[in-house]
Symmetry: C2
Subunit: 111 residues, 2 copies
């Protein structure tokens, strides 16, 4: 029942700005403000995107101990892995065909 995670991931990643955020966070944790400028979004817009990504559990947030105004966001790996698994499953029948083809070739080679 990890399907939920996949569903939320796709729904939330429909937005190009949020895809960019995921991309950026893929390279490492970032602050909200940094993400805003990097994506060319206003602060309020970014705040909402982050809230959506949080509620979909695609990212996590932490307050910086030194400066509690700052908030850093981190990409969670679980949903990424879940989506990869989903795509693998979609590809399953191609893999099978590939397997069948391999067997076919092998049979030819050994004959």
């Amino acid at each position: 029942m990890v399907d939920d995670e996949v569903d939320r991931f796709f729904e939330v990643l429909a937005d190009p700005t949020r895809r960019q955020v995921v991309r950026l966070l893929g390279e490492g944790p970032q602050r909200a403000g940094q993400l805003a400028v990097a994506t060319g979004s206003s602060a309020p817009a970014m705040s909402r995107h982050l809230r959506i990504l949080l509620s979909a559990e695609v990212i996590t947030d932490e307050r910086v101990p030194d400066d509690a105004r700052l908030r850093v966001f981190r990409l969670r790996q679980e949903p990424v892995v879940a989506v990869q698994a989903w795509l693998d499953q979609v590809q399953a029948h191609w893999q099978e065909q590939l397997g069948a083809f391999k067997k076919h070739v092998e049979r030819k080679e050994t004959s």
Copy 2:
């Protein structure tokens, strides 16, 4: 510039019915009507979903030679592969960390 393909894939896969369609077509080609009943959608709704998936080049269509009223749809593998590559890239820094950890363990083991 394969990023376009990824963008369209995510935008189009935001809809749960279309995700279902992709899932179903992952198991093999299907007709429009079959997909409609399988997903519990009306014929017009499915027709629209398929048109969207076609324009995003996620699927292809073929007319059946015997009965030209029928149309079968097939999942294209290219976008699936492209999205997998995208996710791999997002995961890149985790892989690095994993690599670093492995090296760390190896160093410990050999010492």
